[in-house]
């Protein structure tokens, strides 16, 4: 075991750092948080810059235009972009990290030739249409129906929580193609162009007032059979293939952000004065911040273990399953501590006075979603207990 980078890894880091330091200062201002079209353009511009510089699709195989980087190099990429305060993957998330990898392993040659370069260049934005009102934790029970009619599938039904559904060009979508077989066996994976006749996209408001996700309604929407990826009724397996692309890197940027936020909180505590003493004079608060920072460092070490495992075996072990649980809980504690420290100032979502309220209050709200999105903490615990420990199932 060792935590040191090789010479090759270090020189990759330096090359990337050089490039970042030359381009970051010239980036335009980030668009307003609710300007989704503007944000799409911004994210696409950044993706195009990465592409032109040869850094796009870091984890994609070389034959599909990616860099074919190892998980460790991916980690370095994420560390350096975070350090340089480069833009996030943003609306390219689903294309680069979910739909793209699925297409790479499962799609036909024509589908790959058409879609993969467009994702890498930031030309096409993808969204994910998996969840439905009746199918969240129990995703396999999805009921959005696709019935074959000649060379088309005709889709009727609804999707929900479709992040960036209102700006995307394509949707990776799971539909029900057979109702007479066990639920996992009647699902098909489709490439659905957004904006087809009969599709209705309605933004949903989050509890923070943002409209980042949507409901998508389908009324007799026709999608060519040629848009199917994998066989009919084999969509569950196709969707699960993407999981094997999980290289332990999913939360790297967030982790780095949280570590910085926690350290900023310590500095903030040193300058917040109440009744003549600083918040930092309180031993209880110092202990809480110390504990959270140390636990974040430990989770960072776990991240590196997970990445190493992925590098060796292609799969993330138990560490991957426990990571999200531990992280969601820790991020919640960090948010709660920050809210208590800010006290009255935490009642504003935007910065107030000269306090960095937004980062902390937004962070607290974000932590609420960490225990829900992509598998709730309850379901994660079931997975750890049943799949890792081998305990009997509840149902």
């Amino acid at each position: 075991m060792d935590l040191q980078f090789t010479d090759a890894e270090n020189s990759f880091r330096l090359k990337l750092r050089d490039w970042l330091s030359s381009v970051i200062p010239q980036l335009p201002h980030e668009p307003h948080r609710n300007d989704w079209i503007g944000r799409r353009e911004y994210d696409s511009m950044w993706q195009r810059m990465l592409f032109d510089a040869g850094f796009a699709g870091i984890n994609w195989p070389r034959e599909y235009g990616g860099l074919g980087a190892t998980p460790t190099e991916h980690l370095i990429f994420l560390e350096e972009t975070e350090r340089a305060r480069a833009p996030y993957v943003g609306q390219n998330f689903v294309g680069l990290l979910h739909a793209g990898p699925t297409l790479i392993t499962e799609a036909s040659a024509e589908q790959k030739a058409f879609h993969l370069p467009a994702i890498l260049k930031g030309e096409h934005i993808w969204c994910q249409g998996f969840s439905e009102p009746g199918a969240g934790s129990d995703l396999a029970s999805l009921s959005c129906r696709a019935i074959r009619d000649g060379d088309d599938y005709v889709i009727n039904g609804q999707k929900i929580w479709t992040s960036f559904g209102h700006t995307a060009d394509y949707c990776e979508m799971l539909v029900r193609t057979d109702t007479d077989v066990p639920k996992h066996r009647g699902i098909t994976w489709l490439i659905v162009p957004m904006g087809l006749p009969g599709m209705d996209v309605r933004p949903l408001r989050t509890l923070e007032g943002s409209t980042e996700f949507c409901e998508v309604f389908f009324d007799e929407v026709r999608v060519p059979v040629a848009n199917r990826v994998g066989d009919e009724n084999d969509g569950w397996r196709v969707a699960m293939v993407t999981l094997s692309f999980e290289r332990g890197t999913a939360f790297v940027s967030e982790m780095l952000q949280s570590m910085e936020l926690a350290r900023d909180l310590a500095q903030l505590a040193k300058r917040i004065t109440r009744n003549g003493v600083t918040a930092w004079d309180d031993a209880g608060l110092r202990r809480d911040i110390g504990r959270i920072c140390a636990e974040l460092d430990a989770l960072w070490a776990l991240t590196k273990r997970n990445i190493s495992q992925a590098q060796r075996t292609g799969l993330v072990g138990p560490g991957g399953n426990v990571f999200k649980l531990a992280y969601a809980e820790l991020r919640t504690r960090l948010g709660e501590l920050a809210m208590h420290l800010l006290d009255r100032a935490s009642l504003s979502i935007d910065d107030i006075g000269d306090l960095p309220t937004h980062a902390h209050v937004h962070g607290r709200i974000h932590a609420l979603s960490l225990g829900i999105a992509a598998g709730t903490s309850q379901v994660q615990r079931n997975i750890v207990a049943e799949r890792i420990l081998g305990l009997p199932k509840e149902r």
Partner: protein, 316 residues
């Protein structure tokens, strides 16, 4: 000893509850979000007519008052309820709801006022006494996005000294009673979060069964109720002590106990309520978030739970 509600207490609480469930439905509360949280004067006067502000001015005690405030919290009623109640003994117009009286305990490093635009009078609670200020003379920056859309806030840059209306001892009592009344509102928030989450857990199905049949969800709800019932005991004890029928003469210490427990419990029930709702809990539409946000607001009133824990230990 009989630490259970008597018939009069029970019927008073039921009376307030039936008024609120008829007049202050969650739809009415929510509709205020469209007006930036501006308070509805007609409703305020009706609250006055029901007696929620004047209870103690009318001879009832803190015990009856916390029972009423528990219901106000449960119904998510916004505005300076505690301030107007505290002011009612000195300001008749506060007692009947014809004037909306708010209060501020100057805070560091930013001084935050709530509902400033809706107030007729602002009482500044300082250690040296109570001071009345004309809200129009308060200078500050209105926050564009308050955490709780029903609690508009202003970062105050200039707060006039105001006119002294009561001495330090009275200010101390306002602070203490404010803690207990706020704790009652927080208790109500816990109960409302539990009701909503329980309903959802019974009706929402995944894997072919109600999610409430999963132990993970049951345990979340059981933890919520456990916290709420411990909080209820703490709040009622603090109130009974203030009314002179308690088991402790350290009224400040029992008030702290109540406010600390209630603050932590309301935040816990708020977030657990969101969790039980899954993705729906993260939407604006579902009320689970409203209870959590109000819990965040009330925790900062009259000192947050950390402050009270520290103060509690100082007396040991």
């Amino acid at each position: 000893m009989d630490f259970e509600l008597n018939d009069d207490e029970r019927s008073l609480q039921e009376g307030i509850r039936s008024f609120l469930t008829g007049r202050c439905t969650i739809d009415v509360v929510r509709s205020n979000e469209e007006t930036g949280g501006a308070l509805d004067r007609a409703l305020w006067q009706e609250l006055g007519a029901v007696g929620v502000f004047s209870l103690r001015a009318d001879g009832f005690g803190m015990t009856e008052s916390v029972l009423a405030f528990e219901e106000l919290g449960r119904s998510l009623v916004a505005g300076p309820l505690v301030a107007s109640h505290l002011a009612a003994t000195r300001m008749p117009a506060a007692a009947n709801g014809s004037r909306i009286v708010g209060l501020i305990e100057p805070s560091e490093p930013v001084n935050i006022a709530e509902h400033l635009a809706s107030l007729d009078d602002l009482v500044v609670v300082r250690p040296e006494g109570l001071f009345v200020v004309n809200p129009a003379e308060v200078v500050g920056v209105h926050a564009e996005r308050p955490l709780d859309a029903l609690t508009p806030i202003t970062a105050v840059s200039h707060l006039p000294q105001g006119e002294l209306i009561a001495d330090a001892a009275t200010a101390h009592i306002w602070h203490r009673d404010g803690m207990v009344l706020t704790a009652a509102l927080q208790l109500g928030l816990c109960l409302a979060s539990i009701d909503l989450a329980k309903q959802y857990a019974m009706q929402r199905e995944q894997f072919g069964r109600p999610i409430g049949s999963f132990q993970a969800v049951k345990h979340l709800l059981a933890d919520m109720l456990t916290k709420a019932e411990v909080t209820r005991a703490a709040v009622y004890a603090a109130a009974v002590n203030i009314d002179g029928r308690g088991d402790s003469t350290d009224l400040m210490q029992t008030a702290r106990m109540a406010k600390m427990l209630a603050g932590d419990s309301a935040l816990f029930c708020g977030k657990a309520g969101i969790q039980v709702h899954g993705g729906m809990g993260f939407t604006w539409e579902v009320d689970a978030q409203r209870y959590w946000k109000r819990a965040c607001v009330l925790d900062t009133h009259f000192g947050n739970s950390d402050e009270h824990a520290a103060a509690f230990s100082a007396a040991l």
